[in-house]
């Protein structure tokens, strides 16, 4: 690595050194309490898969280049030089971490490894070493934000093709259209994913609730966040924010995608509309008596996986349980659950990258946790979690029926 490249990467690191990050990098006492928090370490007990090790990869560079101590006594904190080998270590740290922040719950100081890994991911972009698929997907999302009239017409046509399937789930529409688009002053702007599984149940539920809603032209998923590019993260979110402001909606309800929800709700600052998870929207409809669910429609023993970005990092925890209590009387919690729930192992962009072998091995503890419930319906509320849990189900022969919460609700709708 030449001097110019090193300087460029260190400038990227410098750009992330705000007050919280500086404390995260300076305060660790290497107590090791976080070691057992990581699902990767619990499944594959190697030191490189611990939160403290991952953070140290960045911390040792920080000490070397941003602390006087690293210049006069580098061995004191094992400060390391930024070279190609260090970039390899950065990659391994960043993309073996799902950003679930379970370690943050264990750390006595509350060190946020995901934040520290955001330095790692940004440096990898600078070194042209980030997983290219994530950048490509982020760019595609941004490109869609510049959609012309023809693209919007194509989207509207594709959505109309879903109408029959939606009506099959709930026969009457709330408004004039089964899937309303561009509804000015709508109560809810629903932001889905690029897939009918994310649109059909939601449309059925909102129509059943007689909601004045509108489907967003944009998909919720934020690949900018997965790849750790703050500019692209902002641009991807901004498409939705601009649409919500243009339509003057009261609420943006984000589909079952943990990262999309957390970015929009907690990382984009205050907006002139409320940001909710679709899980919260469903819970509200039940609470207000706007939808009714039939407990006899879905048979089986339920359990629920709290998606990290929705629950521990997003604050949507009890709403899911409230919904499930209207779906079944046969529910068992995963152990541990809520803020201590094990990550599914698919976050942080790992699903999009592929990494099937690593994801299966590193989530062994998750598979064991699910198996121990003896349930047969595994509900969750995040696209990444759903994909990962479905693959774990197959890989470990768990015999589960992995379902989105919204899908279960749509199937249980009754008059």
């Amino acid at each position: 690595m030449d001097q110019a490249k090193r300087k460029e990467l260190l400038n990227l690191m410098d750009s992330k050194l705000n007050n919280a990050m500086r404390m995260y990098l300076e305060v660790c006492s290497h107590c090791g309490v976080c070691i057992e928090a990581c699902h990767v370490y619990a499944s594959m007990p190697e030191l490189k898969y611990t939160a403290v090790h991952r953070a140290e990869v960045i911390r040792k560079l920080f000490n070397r280049y941003f602390k006087l101590q690293g210049k006069i006594w580098p061995s004191l904190r094992d400060s390391t030089v930024l070279d190609d080998e260090a970039v390899n270590r950065i990659y391994e740290a960043a993309y073996s971490c799902t950003g679930c922040r379970r370690c943050m719950v264990y750390c006595p100081f509350g060190i946020d490894t995901q934040m520290i890994m955001s330095i790692a991911k940004l440096m990898l972009i600078g070194a042209d070493r980030e997983p290219k698929i994530l950048t490509m997907l982020a760019d595609m999302s941004i490109q869609k934000g510049k959609a012309d009239e023809a693209t919007r017409q194509n989207f509207a046509t594709a959505v109309r093709n879903l109408e029959a399937e939606i009506i099959e789930k709930w026969r009457t529409a709330g408004g004039d259209e089964v899937v309303p688009l561009d509804i000015q002053d709508a109560n809810v702007l629903y932001v889905a994913l690029a897939g009918k599984h994310s649109i059909i149940p939601a449309a059925a539920i909102m129509n059943a609730a007689k909601e004045k809603w509108s489907l967003s032209y944009y998909e919720a998923v934020n690949f900018g966040a997965f790849v750790g590019n703050p500019k692209k993260t902002q641009e991807i979110s901004q498409r939705i924010i601009d649409e919500a402001i243009r339509l003057r909606v009261k609420e943006v309800s984000v589909c079952e995608c943990g990262t999309a929800f957390r970015v929009l709700r907690h990382q984009m600052g205050k907006q002139p509309f409320k940001v909710t998870s679709f899980v919260e929207t469903i819970a509200r409809y039940i609470r207000e008596g706007r939808i009714k669910l039939d407990k006899n429609k879905i048979k089986g023993k339920f359990t629920y996986h709290d998606p990290c970005q929705l629950a521990r990092n997003g604050g949507v925890i009890e709403e899911a349980r409230y919904i499930i209590s209207h779906l079944t009387d046969d529910f068992v919690e995963l152990t541990p659950n809520r803020k201590y729930n094990w990550c599914c192992g698919g976050g942080g962009g790992l699903i999009a990258i592929g990494e099937h072998d690593f994801r299966m091995k590193s989530a062994k503890v998750k598979a064991e946790q699910v198996k121990a419930t003896n349930a047969n319906i595994l509900a969750t509320a995040c696209e990444n979690c759903h994909t990962q849990l479905s693959e774990l189900n197959e890989h470990y022969n768990l015999g589960m029926n992995v379902q989105f919460l919204s899908s279960l609700v749509a199937d249980a709708l009754t008059e």
């Binding site: 050194l17 919280a20 290497h30 107590c31 090791g32 602390k67």
Partner: protein
């Protein structure tokens, strides 16, 4: 020559150590305050209100360690409480603090038990680091700080233990220590001849030497967690 070295450790180096300690901490805190602010929340849910109160509880009672590493928690709590009492004990060596005599006690506080508690805790922390996986995550600084503290506590404790637990006692009493320390506080340093003439002077010198080194190192070390723990826990609590 050795007298000059001893004098340097007992007087100029003490001032130097405190200057580095206070200025270093100030610089570190100012640098943090002028750094760009974290503008979005980094909190963990579910939240409990008031967040500031829970943050204080997190910082002072270490509940996450209590839940996951109960033995470490016991030693950490003992260590931190003993360290607080140690600071109070040293302040009482300088001045009479009537408020603290609500519970009547002799000076130095604790009759040697504080130093003993600290020693046991520090040895536990040190030996814990020899064990995998803690050995692999430890860096030189972790050992360096523990060794500095162990030496400081052992030499300081030695004087207190000899005074309280030996039938021969210790030839330096609170009176001599107070004379020395209060002269230092008044910036009119005086080393009483009872101290410099004592056969145990070297023990005091070594205690002060390691304490000086610890104070000098403090602002540049992970011990700054004593200032950062509350704000960091507040960030986590939201």
């Amino acid at each position: 020559m050795i007298d000059k070295i001893y004098y340097f450790i007992m007087v100029p180096m003490v001032y130097l150590a405190f200057a580095v300690f206070f200025l270093g901490i100030l610089v570190r805190l100012i640098r943090l305050m002028v750094a760009p602010k974290q503008t979005t929340t980094l909190q963990i849910f579910p939240e409990k209100k008031p967040a500031w109160l829970y943050s204080l509880a997190d910082a002072f009672f270490l509940p996450t360690i209590g839940k996951h590493k109960p033995l470490l928690w016991v030693f950490l709590m003992l260590y931190h409480v003993a360290f607080l009492l140690l600071i109070i004990g040293h302040l009482e060596l300088i001045w009479d603090i009537k408020l603290l005599q609500v519970i009547p006690h002799k000076i130095f506080l604790g009759k040697g038990l504080i130093a003993l508690t600290l020693t046991i805790c520090l040895v536990f922390f040190l030996f814990r680091r020899f064990k995998s996986p803690y050995r692999e995550i430890s860096v030189t600084e972790d050992f360096f700080l523990l060794i500095l503290l162990i030496f400081t506590v052992l030499f300081g404790g030695h004087m207190n233990w000899a005074y309280h637990w030996s039938e021969y006692g210790f030839d330096l009493s609170v009176t001599e220590f107070r004379e020395y320390l209060s002269s230092m506080v008044k910036f009119k340093p005086a080393l009483p001849s009872a101290i410099t003439g004592s056969p145990h002077y070297i023990i005091l010198v070594l205690h002060v030497l390691f304490a000086n080194l610890f104070l000098i190192f403090f602002p540049f070390s992970k011990i700054m967690h004593s200032f950062f723990t509350i704000p960091l826990n507040k960030i986590r609590r939201g």
